[in-house]
Structures are given as structure tokens and as C-alpha cells.
């Protein structure tokens, strides 16, 4: 049956893409819990990125969707079907592995054709699909080569080709770009994104690189220690992180966090170390004296005469911008300027955050306080 579906889609017919629903999914390896109840809904054709620090359970979740790992409890649906106990081959998903997992003894063409050969598809159809995938990915000149004879980027493309040929309901990517050099990574990032716009197949993409997540995703799922911290569109996470973890994880260089207290006697303010005052536009009611964390992205500082005094420590120009490490009342912060200031270490400047763009978190729970 999946064969027929595939044909339909290739012929530009009906859409067969599938949504993915993850409901309170948990995973334990023996006694150690690794995923502690995750809920994610993924729409048809959506590009979802699972992002989080190393060891947070991204791969484990992806492998549970693929069927390579059992689900300890909860439910995973692909389309209308609950796939919890379905073997991988029936789930109609394709996966691209971090190390590509190309079959070293098969040519590029055979690597891509393998799944269809196993299904017993007619040779003419196999050839057509391999040809199409090779065209999309620019692999035509390499079809008769062995994986050994390809560069890292080409191997990466073959791995994607193998997935495309399958014409699956869902693409799963597990850190597919982490073995490539920085430049190639940026290039492949764009290619994968373009590919998705062209094929419109539901895609779940795992990475620990937040820039990859920001640039590629329709929707980002930020994970931490086996839990989802926040789900949202890239800019949503950037503008309104729901907690300190997401705030610190999304954005580069990372957000500055300043510990202190809320002051709401007449004027709403945040009092940082050494009594330094920072501006605020909103805070929850009755929060005078509440311990809080004030978050400012480096790019949201600007120079202002009534700002806080900062002593410059290090100046790092990158050409397009200048990154400055400075100390405000002994606390190190990072600021980024697009203008070409002539700063030197030891200079004193006055820095003021844009009050509309600051973030306020509860010190105890780490949850967002301001709107």
C-alpha cells in the first residue's frame, strides 16, 4: 500500500503527508528515566526542530518515533495510526543519521534504491525515483561511486537522497550536519530547507545547534533533561522565552542574566548588584521586593547617558558588529553593537537596555514574569 501512496504523491496527486502526535511519552532505560512525559503536536508538512543540550533526550525521542527504541509509556501517532508497537518498516518514516549510515559496499545509486528493492518495486520505478532524487540533490555524477569516494557533504546528500527516494510520510533527521565544516553546514542548512519547501514532507529535525534550529524551523521544541521547556515559532522563543533555560539557550551570544530585586514604589524598576537600577515597563502586581532575574540580550543594550556605568573588559570586532564584554557593578555582561564604536579595554561607558525588550524571570522557579 505505501507504494501506491508514494506514486500518487510523485504524480503530484493527492497529499498523503501526515501529522505526528506525541502524547505524554516517557522513556526509561532500565531504571533510569530519560524522557519524562513529552507532548508535541506536529502538523502535516511542518518542519519541527528538536533542540536542546547534549544528553537531553532528543535522539531518544526521534528514535522512538522511528521505531528504533521502545516507548515506555505514552502514545505516538503518525497520521491516524498509533505506531507504538509498529515495526519501523511499517511506519513509513525515513531517517538521516548523524554519521549518514551509508552502506559502504553499495554504490550511491544502490544505497538510494535499497529500500525500494526490498519492497520489490519494479526496476523502472526504482530508476525513475533514484533519478529524480539525484536530480534534486545534484548527485547525478556520483551515482556509480561508493560512499568512500565521496566528500562529507556529498555523503550527506546521499543520505538525504536515500530518504527522498522512500517518499515517506515523515523525514527524521538526527544532527545531520554536525560532521560537516562550518561553511558546508550553512550551505546544507539552506539546501535542507529548500528541499522541505519543495517536498512539503513533515520533518522532525534534531540538533543541539540553536542557530540551525532558528533558521530552519517552522516550530522549535526546546528540550532539557527529558522535558519540553517550550514549543513555539523561532521568533516567539526569541522574543518571549517562557523560562530562564529557553532564554539562555536561544540566541547567540547568550542572554545576559542579572540577579536582583523588583522595586515598585512609584516607579517600576529593577535593582541589580551594587544598587544599579535597570528600567522596566511591566511586572506582575504586588512584586515590590521580589527576587528576580533580569534578562537582556546583548543586542538590546545601547549607549545612553542615564544608563548603568560599565567598564569595558574585552572588545571583539567581527566586522559587521562589535562584541563587548563589560562589567556593571562587578557583574560581567556582553553587549553587541552594530555601530563602530572605538572602545578600548578600561573605558567606561553607560549602557541602557531597551525596556520594551527586556525579560524578567522569577528567581526561584525560573519562569517568565513580564508580559
Amino acid at each position: 500500500m505505501p507504494n501506491n501512496k508514494g506514486k500518487c504523491r510523485l504524480a503530484g496527486g493527492e497529499d498523503w503527508m501526515a501529522s505526528v502526535a506525541i502524547r505524554d511519552v516517557r522513556k526509561a532505560f532500565g531504571a533510569t528515566g530519560v524522557i519524562h512525559g513529552v507532548d508535541v503536536s506536529i502538523r502535516d508538512g511542518e518542519f519541527v526542530v528538536l533542540v536542546g543540550p547534549s544528553g537531553c533526550g532528543k535522539s531518544t525521542l526521534l528514535r522512538m518515533i522511528a521505531g528504533l527504541e521502545n516507548i515506555t509509556s505514552g502514545e505516538i501517532r503518525i497520521g491516524e495510526r498509533v505506531v507504538n508497537n509498529m515495526p519501523p518498516k511499517e511506519r513509513d518514516v525515513a531517517m538521516v543519521f548523524q554519521n549518514y549510515a551509508l552502506y559502504p559496499h553499495m554504490t550511491v545509486a544502490n544505497n538510494m534504491a535499497f529500500s525500494m528493492k526490498l519492497r520489490g518495486a519494479p526496476q523502472s520505478e526504482i530508476d525513475a525515483r533514484v533519478k529524480r532524487a539525484a536530480d534534486i540533490l545534484g548527485l547525478d555524477p556520483y551515482l556509480q561511486r561508493f560512499p568512500r569516494q565521496l566528500s562529507g557533504g556529498q555523503r550527506q546528500r546521499v543520505a538525504m537522497g536515500r530518504a527522498i527516494v522512500r517518499d515517506p510520510q515523515v523525514f527524521l533527521f538526527d544532527e545531520p550536519l554536525s560532521n560537516l565544516d562550518a561553511k558546508l553546514r550553512v550551505q546544507m542548512r539552506t539546501e535542507i530547507k529548500e528541499l522541505h519547501q519543495r517536498l512539503k514532507t513533515t520533518t522532525i529535525y534534531v540538533t543541539h545547534d540553536q542557530i540551525e534550529a532558528m533558521t530552519m524551523a517552522d516550530k522549535i521544541v526546546v528540550m532539557h533533561d527529558g522535558l519540553v521547556e517550550q514549543i513555539g515559532a523561532p521568533l516567539e522563543l526569541y522574543d518571549k522565552p517562557q523560562n530562564i533555560f529557553v532564554a539562555g539557550f536561544i540566541g547567540s551570544p547568550a542572554m545576559n542574566f542579572i540577579k536582583g530585586t523588583l522595586r515598585a514604589n512609584g516607579k517600576l524598576e529593577f535593582e541589580g548588584p551594587g544598587g544599579t537600577k535597570f528600567p522596566l515597563t511591566s511586572a506582575p502586581k504586588a512584586s515590590n521586593g521580589r527576587a528576580a532575574v533580569y534578562g537582556v540580550r546583548p543586542e538590546h543594550f545601547h549607549i545612553d547617558d542615564d544608563g548603568a556605568e560599565a567598564v569595558i573588559q574585552v572588545v571583539e570586532p567581527t566586522g559587521s558588529e562589535i562584541q563587548v564584554a563589560a562589567k556593571i557593578a562587578g557583574q560581567e555582561i556582553i553587549a553587541v553593537f552594530r555601530e563602530r564604536h572605538q572602545f578600548k579595554p578600561g573605558d567606561k561607558i553607560r549602557l541602557k537596555p531597551d525596556p520594551r525588550l527586556v525579560h524578567l524571570f522569577d528567581e526561584a522557579t525560573g519562569q517568565r514574569l513580564n508580559a
Partner: protein
């Protein structure tokens, strides 16, 4: 001396002598570095081999050097039915035992590569037949195959399956199968453990990729595991064939080539003629006659199972 060298360099910095050029010539240095290994090989491999071949062209006996007699020993063997029987026995022994060692060894390797409980212990157990000295295990088999005290016969009798003891080593074909069985038992661990080592170099993500591509267990073995294992299979089976073809100890302890030469291998016949019979030349000729068979085995594995194209990139060597 250092001074002299320094002076030389100072005086004639460009025109180095042949000797000086040799001193820094990589190939020449390489030759020197290879010398100890070459000496070792010549002394312990080439010399005995050459001597053996030479003796086969003489009528040497124990206690007296022989004269060159040309191909006389070989002509003699050509008309010797016992010699031809031993060739047949050796081929039968080698082919049957190697085939079984391969099948059983591969099966065990696949089994041990799974996530079994007590994996380490099981792997150690598989190695036992390999660790026990050949003579010791041969003696154990001797008991197992004894015409009166065989535990196999005893068990079968108790189970009511047979009424008289099986004459394992006294009957022509029984004896052949018995020694082949003993050889398989001894040889399987080598094959199994080597193939297991090969299996462990196959990246588990390949299995996962194949699983997602829709392959079942057999298809994964057929299309992924086996092709990736062929290079190591080639090596291990070449060695296994060589060891089996030249086997001596097991036969000598179990049957001494009997009954009526039914288990006489070329190696045992050679020993019998040369050492026990005293006809060194003839024994050496039998041994030398093994060389073409062994060479054939090596050449088959060399050409048929050479490094495959997927293993070596087109651009490096």
C-alpha cells in the same frame, strides 16, 4: 668524526659523495631496516622450505645424506595408491571440515554478536576448544570414540537407539567422519571469534538504517552483514583451510592414519614414510606435493576475495 663530517659539509656543501647521499636515501635506509626481518624469514622460513624441497629430489635416509635422484621420488609416488588415497583423504577432510567450520563459526559469531545475557562468559566458553592443547583434546576424543568405552555409544544404547557399540575409529567411513568431527570441534572457535571481531566492526547504525529501509533480519544479513564481512571471511577461511590441510596432531593421536589408511592425510603419510620409515626423500616429496594445493588455496582467496572496490577509493593506490 663529527668534525670531519662538518668539515666536509663546509668544504663541499653541494657535492655530496655517493656514500653521503646513500646515508640520507630513504630507500637505502629502508633496505637496512628490513634486513633483520629478512634474515629471520630466510633463516626460519625459506631455508627449511628450500631444504625440504631439495631433500625431495634426493634419496636421503635417516642417518645418511642423499644423492640427487631427480624426480625419482615423485615418479614413485605417482604409482603409489596409498599416496593417492592420502590426497583424497586430505581433500575430503579439508573441504568437509572447512565448510562446517565456516557455517557453524558464522552462526556462532552472529549469535554471540547479539545482546545475550552472560555475553562475556559465553564468548569465553566458545574459545575453550581452541585453548585446550590439541593432543589433550585428541585424547579426550579418543575416549569418546573408543570402541568399548565410548560415552556416545553408551548413551545411545541407554536411550535404546542402538544395540551394539559403534565402532567409531575402526570402520573406514566412521573413522573419517569421526576425525572430521574432532577437527571441526577444534577449529570452530577460531572462525567464530575472528568473524565475531569482524561483526563488531560493522556500525550498528547500518543495521538501524536497514531496519528503517524495511529489511527483515534475513535481508539485513544477506545485504548488509554478509557483504561487509566478506573480507574477513576470506582471510579466516584461507587460514582455516591451510591449517586443516596440514593437520597432523589430531589424526596421529586418534587413528595414526588407520584403519587401513582410511584417515591417512598427506602430512601423516609424509611423517610415516620419512621419520618412521626412514625414507626422508620420499617423505619430503609428499610434503612438497602439498605445496601446489596450498598455493592454490591462497591464490583463490587472493584473487577471488581480494580487497573490493568499495574498500579502496579510486584515488588512493
Amino acid at each position: 668524526m663529527t668534525d670531519a663530517t662538518l668539515n666536509n659539509i663546509k668544504l663541499a656543501p653541494r657535492e655530496a659523495t655517493t656514500w653521503q647521499r646513500l646515508q640520507v636515501n630513504r630507500n637505502w635506509l629502508g633496505l637496512w631496516f628490513m634486513l633483520p626481518a629478512a634474515a629471520f624469514l630466510i633463516l626460519f622460513l625459506a631455508y627449511p622450505l628450500g631444504l625440504g624441497v631439495w631433500i625431495s629430489f634426493t634419496d636421503a635416509r635417516i642417518g645418511r645424506g642423499g644423492d640427487f635422484v631427480g624426480l625419482e621420488n615423485y615418479e614413485w609416488l605417482w604409482d603409489d595408491t596409498v599416496f593417492w588415497l592420502s590426497v583424497f583423504n586430505t581433500l575430503l577432510y579439508t573441504i568437509v571440515a572447512s565448510a562446517f567450520k565456516f557455517a557453524v563459526g558464522l552462526y556462532l559469531a552472529l549469535l554471540l554478536n547479539q545482546n545475550l545475557p552472560f555475553k562475556a562468559i559465553l564468548r569465553a566458553v566458545v574459545l575453550i576448544p581452541f585453548i585446550v592443547p590439541t593432543v589433550l583434546s585428541a585424547i579426550a576424543f579418543w575416549w569418546l570414540f573408543d570402541s568399548q568405552f565410548s560415552i556416545i555409544s553408551w548413551t545411545l544404547k541407554k536411550a535404546g537407539l542402538i544395540s551394539t557399540n559403534i565402532d567409531f575409529l575402526g570402520d573406514v567411513w566412521n573413522a573419517r567422519w569421526s576425525v572430521i568431527f574432532a577437527n571441526i570441534w577444534r577449529g570452530v572457535p577460531f572462525v567464530a571469534i575472528t568473524l565475531l571481531a569482524g561483526l563488531q566492526t560493522v556500525s550498528p547504525t547500518l543495521y538501524e538504517a536497514a531496519t528503517i529501509d524495511g529489511a527483515n533480519k534475513w535481508q539485513i544479513f544477506r545485504h548488509v552483514t554478509y557483504p561487509l564481512l566478506t573480507p574477513i571471511i576470506a582471510v579466516v577461511m584461507t587460514f582455516s583451510v591451510l591449517f586443516t590441510f596440514t593437520d597432523f596432531q589430531l589424526i596421529w593421536v586418534l587413528t595414526r592414519g588407520g584403519p587401513v589408511n582410511a584417515t591417512q592425510l598427506m602430512a601423516t603419510l609424509s611423517y610415516q614414510r620419512a621419520i618412521l620409515g626412514g625414507h626422508l626423500g620420499e617423505g619430503a616429496a609428499i610434503s612438497t606435493a602439498m605445496i601446489p594445493f596450498l598455493l592454490a588455496a591462497i591464490l583463490i582467496s587472493w584473487f577471488g576475495l581480494q580487497r573490493r572496490k568499495w574498500q579502496q577509493g579510486e584515488n588512493n593506490d
